[in-house]
Amino acid sequence: MTSRRGFLAGLLASSLAPTPSWADLGRPAFLTAAKDPDGSYLLAGLSEAGAIQFTCPLPGRGHAAAAHPTRPEAVAFARRPGRFADVIDCRNGTPLARLEPPQGHHFYGHGLFTPDGSRLFTTENDYENGRGRIGIWEVARGYRRIGSFDSGGVGPHDMLLRQSQSGPQLAIANGGIETHPDSGRAKLNLPQMRPNLSLLSLDGQVQEVMELAPELHLNSIRHLAISSQGILGFAMQWQGDPGADLPLLGLYEPGTPPDLLAEGDPRLRNMRGYGGSVAFSPDDLTIGVTSPRGGVVQVMETRSGHIIKEHALRDVCGLATARSGFIASTGLGAIAALTGHTAKQLRHHDLAWDNHLVPLT
């Protein structure tokens, strides 16, 4: 029932702020890509309870998306080696712009907007030079490319915004793996790979670079999460021999050595060497990591690093912070709430949810 106050507030909002906003779509909590059983691909907005609030078609399989902070616009990246990304008006699916990286670059599938929504940053592969780049796009001018800078490593994948004392910075997971579109997804540099987590100012100045010990150089740092205190969680993918007993999740507080979680716990093997998505619980006390290969979400205590729960979820990959813990999505269409020691299916959609659940903030 509409209250008088609500009605008036709505009237005010519509007259004073005619610009489109996420409220037009019911303020979705997450964006995620999916495959429809008919073979087509789409981008969806989900509520905190896992209900679909909108969908719009995608021209091909997506990977992650970036949501504009205020306008109901999303940038949907093609999966790597992605030659384009589409900016979509999520209210009706209208394509607003198509981003194409310069000759010799392709997208890696992740990107983010500055908090004021004026700029978009994209992770890219400068494949002729084997270097990671961050592309900069100006939103107000129809997403025009205005420059790029070095990502601080090879194979930049996930990227987050972090507030530091010196202002906002980009946290970039440089996975370390060199690929070239001519050889598809083949990994060209495993013997030499050196992944890192780089912190860069928004104009591309390297502020910090975190590398793991040399014996972990085959552990590709790929996906990131950030706590309310600015501590970064990083999930890794092991490129060495299967069966090695290795950490796949770490915490990094800039200025201090990284902290690898659950080291020595045999249950890490249940992850099959692959961390898919990572997220903190809302109280920052735990951090979760998914493994589609292992069909498991492991939840670890941030303070002790111990695994406190394993949730079995087939083909799980997407994971995000939710009010009561975590929310996870699977390739079988499930959206599940992970709270404490229980996993509860919130919804089941006849869709295959793709890799990530991107929170809208």
């Binding site: 990977h63 790597r80 069966g243 020595g264 045999p266 290969r293 069909g295 394993e310 079988l332 890799n355």
Partner: protein, 348 residues
């Protein structure tokens, strides 16, 4: 890093699950929906195999109390029997085997960082009497427990005559006893509650489909372990074969494990085919090829991976196992409502 693992902590959190599971078990009377496939797999395969594991482990523990000499044949026979029984269930990695990390404590393999010999050497150096008690060993590093650790004590020259002699004897007896305690707990959980939870499928499993999918997943787990670990690790690459990575090569069991694994996965796959005669025939053929090849290898330690003349036979075996996986994924999975993973096969 080899810090002390915090088992007490894990146990405390796992205990809740046990209590919860027991509560569920008591609250539901199995509705006796006849789940033929599930009953058949539980009654003909899982429960007898878990019983055999518990009983042969108990035999091993008994004998290890009285015989210390690693070369003594009654001891070795008992060890082989119990280890065989473990390999036959090593794909059933869900439920009771995962409580308190029981399966890892029985089978810490692969051991890519050599933690098992390091842990055992540390135990022998410290000669800590606490490790000789069931509680003490249960809280010690899993790398020093189970069948693979015991293999070092029985077959590796650095350990078979390690000093102090008395402590070594007592430690191996305690390790065997620990295996018996663990396998008995697994068997008890299966018998007392877990099998019923799979049959009634109204608590832990929401429906019969989920139960079948769990069993199907274990079939895949077993085949993957076989192709990628049991064969893949020693195969390494042509330029860099890794014979010392073969599973249980010290006791000459590597080839045998391949046969055992295939022989226990075959009836599971056949049962899951649920009477589809055409599919069953194809599965039989696809299993027989690698089983016969594995039996004929005459290479107990898989040392042939480093010998170009023999290596191709192991590569062919691995290929046949991978063909089997492909057949199961394409023809058996869909009938159980399991499609190839959208995310699990992709990766990014």
């Amino acid at each position: 890093m080899t810090g002390p693992p915090s088992y007490v902590f894990w146990k405390a959190s796992d205990l809740k699950h046990i209590i919860f599971a027991l509560a569920i078990g008591a609250a539901f009377t199995p509705s006796l929906v006849r789940a033929d496939i599930v009953d058949e797999i539980l009654d003909d395969q899982v429960l007898p195999a878990m019983q055999a594991l518990a009983e042969s482990s108990e035999d091993l523990a008994q004998i290890a109390q009285t015989i210390c000499r690693p070369g003594a044949s009654p001891l070795r026979d008992a060890y082989h029997q119990a280890f065989d029984a473990w390999v036959r269930v090593s794909h059933l990695r869900f439920g009771p085997t995962e409580t308190n990390n029981r399966a890892f404590a029985l089978a810490f393999w692969p051991d890519s960082r050599g933690k098992t010999p390091k842990t055992l050497a540390k135990h022998l150096r410290s000669a800590d009497p606490a490790l000789l008690t069931p509680e003490g060993i249960a809280q010690s590093s899993i790398a020093g427990r189970g069948f693979y650790a015991l293999e070092f004590m029985y077959f590796d020259q650095n350990f078979t005559s390690a000093k102090p002699h008395e402590y070594r004897c007592a430690l191996t007896a305690a390790m065997a006893q620990d295996i018996a305690v663990n396998t008995a707990a697994i068997h008890r959980d299966w018998q007392d509650s877990y099998a019923d939870q799979m049959r009634s499928a109204s608590g832990r499993y929401q429906d019969e489909t989920e139960v079948k999918q769990e069993l199907y997943k274990s079939l895949n787990t077993g085949l993957q372990l076989l192709a990628d670990m049991r064969l893949g690790r020693p195969l390494g690459s042509f330029d860099k074969p890794r014979p010392k990575r073969a599973e249980a090569w010290r006791s000459g069991r590597s080839q045998h494990h391949i046969v055992l694994a295939l022989q226990s996965l075959q009836p599971l796959a056949i049962a899951l085919a649920d009477g589809d005669q055409d599919l069953i025939a194809r599965l039989e053929t696809a299993f027989q090829k690698p089983i016969l090849r594995a039996l004929r290898l005459d290479d107990p330690r898989l040392a042939g991976v480093a010998d170009p003349a023999n290596r191709f036979r192991l590569e062919a075996l691995q290929q046949e196992v991978n063909d089997l996986r492909a057949l199961i994924e394409s023809d058996l999975g869909p009938s159980l409502g399991v499609l190839a993973g959208f995310n699990s096969l992709d990766g990014d």
